[in-house]
Amino acid sequence: MDAIFVTEQLLNGLAYGFMLFLLAAGLTLVFGIMDTMNLAHGSLYMAGAYVAARVHDSSGQFVLAVLVAVGVTVCVAAVLEVLIMRRLYRRDHLAQVLATFGLILIADDAVKALWGPSPIMAPTPAALAGPVHLMDGLPYSSYRLLLIGVGVLVAVGLYWLVNRTRMGMLVRAGAADRQMAEFMGVRVGRVFSFVFLLGAALAALAGALMGPVSAVQIGMGEAILIPALVVIVIGGVGSVRGAFVASLLVGLIDTSGRAFLPPLLREVLSPSLAADVGPALASISMYALMAVVLTLKPAGLFPARA
């Protein structure tokens, strides 16, 4: 375990964390402002990944693939918003969980019908296939650097949107106190649609970008939904800043755990025990983090609600 390995893993953690942020930001805004639990958010991520992979595969153009993926997913999300989500905004959480779980089931079969039950290949764009030499002796995947770059851009963009634009102000008002915002004349319906579609776009972007580095398969949405939910709980529901901090934390802890725990444990435990316990500990690390945060700050790190 040398410095290069450690740096590499930390950068991997950042990349994963930023992608989680793309997902968590939308999820936390929808939950914070519309008080709506949307489990199908992961399915939007999956849609982005599949569309991007297929378009990239047939056209060879990565940027086009990402744009098409985001565009298609936002269209699907718009239909979803009008048909289903609008009717869920005023229902209780359990009804929302049930309905969006149903959407997951429908989405999984839709994907299976369109692209088959097996995982599909999402190739890394040729231009980014090679490593970048960050320092002497530190080659790093240029594609993952792109993930980090996009993540930073999105974070800055969201910060500007939420803190410096009128829409962002409306969004913050809605997150802090929805009823009051309504009384003040905010066109709540429009804000809701905007937030939902923005979330969908970000999720699709994350899916499109994650395709080359993870498996594009049915069930990938559910798999990333759980870490995303953990992130928004740690960060504080409704807070984009909280989602940012928590995503990076979870990304780093999860990746570092998987990379560093097994070798560390091998130093102190028997090899067979280390091989058993290492991965398990790594997997539960983000849950342990959540439990610790909730014990100290029951409403998350940066609760948005007053």
């Binding site: 289903i84 049930l98 149903g102 429908i106 999984d108 299976k112 709980v233 539960i284 849950y287 439990a291």
Partner: protein, 329 residues
């Protein structure tokens, strides 16, 4: 914030009206009778395969009833209940490995292990509410899942077989459908106990906590202890289901505890009618039968179930039991 219909309870009174009052009393016995003779009639109907199916459904119903109690009556919507099922199952495996041969002892041990897990998890989780409670119970179940995956002695991800069936006692073992009838009897007991519990002092206190916890504290109720007792009890019953599942499948694996199992269990309960007497049986029956039938005809059986969920959320929000209730009243 969960808008559970509190005017309907898990009691015979829930099926209102004269005719339904009588229906409420003899229906459980009728169902019990039908299920009891089913294995004997099955060969005649060429449904012998389905005896195992019904047995599994009954076991799942036991777990669902315990979840329905804490979530519906108690307002504690947990997303980690499958964790206790898993603990019960693995408890049986551990005891069998240690030489236990009696089903009663092994299942009892599994129940105890699940109760202990529920006590620890409950003490930590029950201080939270709503979505935080949902997430924390999910987190603990995932921890149990990964723990099971890491247990190489029990096969880790591959799971572990129970090669020698447990004994239910000489007389019962001799019967072809002994295990089935034991499961049925226990399911009936759990159903009856759940119904009675809902109208007992404990049940009323739990409902009060669900509806207005602050007032319950101000009235002098030891609210935390009541919630914990309910949570541990439900965990134990789920553990029993897990233990029986281990015997039924002659196999355990970590997938028993995956969060999708917890989610499906919750979905079944809400489908049937959260907090209602027949919520768990109806929900489990509907879900398992439908998926089984669909799988016979198509690979694409997920989307019809998804559509069903949407229909229930928008057209029958009180679940199947609520729908039937309204029709009768």
């Amino acid at each position: 914030m969960t808008t559970v219909d509190c005017s309907d309870e898990m009691s015979p009174r829930a099926l209102r009206g004269g005719a339904h009052g009588r229906l409420g009393t003899w229906l459980p016995w009728g169902v019990l009778l039908a299920l009891a003779v089913f294995p004997l009639l099955a060969p005649l109907l060429e449904m012998e395969y389905y005896v195992g199916f019904v047995r599994r459904a009954l076991i799942v119903m036991i777990a669902a009833t315990s979840l329905n109690f804490i979530a519906g009556v108690g307002g504690m919507v947990a997303l980690g209940h499958a964790g206790f099922i898993g603990v019960g199952a693995y408890g049986v495996v551990a005891l069998v490995d240690a030489g236990v041969g009696s089903a009663w002892l092994a299942w009892g041990g599994g129940m105890l292990a699940a109760a202990l897990a529920a006590a620890v998890i409950g003490v930590v989780s029950l201080r939270t509410r709503e979505v935080y409670f949902l997430m924390i119970t999910l987190a603990f179940a995932q921890m149990l899942y990964y723990l099971a995956v890491s247990l190489r002695t029990y096969g880790g991800d591959d799971g572990y077989g129970l090669y020698v069936p447990l004994s239910l006692g000489a007389g019962v073992d001799a019967l072809a459908h002994g295990f089935y009838w034991v499961v049925l009897a226990l399911a009936a007991l759990v159903f009856a106990f759940g119904s009675r519990l809902a109208v007992s002092r404990f049940g009323h206190a739990l409902k009060g906590i669900r509806d207005n916890e602050t007032r319950m504290v101000a009235l002098g109720y030891p609210v935390f202890r009541i919630k914990l007792a309910a949570f541990v009890g439900a965990g134990a019953v789920a553990g029993l289901a897990g233990a029986m599942l281990a015997s039924h499948n002659a196999y355990v694996s970590p997938s028993l505890m995956h969060w999708t199992e917890s989610a499906t269990l919750l979905v079944m309960v809400v489908l049937g009618g959260l907090g209602r007497r027949w919520g768990a049986p109806l929900g489990v029956a509907l879900w398992l039968v439908l998926t089984e039938v669909l799988k016979l005809y198509t690979d694409y059986w997920h989307w019809p179930m998804g559509v069903l969920l949407l229909l229930v959320v928008f057209l029958a929000p009180r679940g199947l039991a609520g729908l039937l209730d309204r029709r009768g009243a």
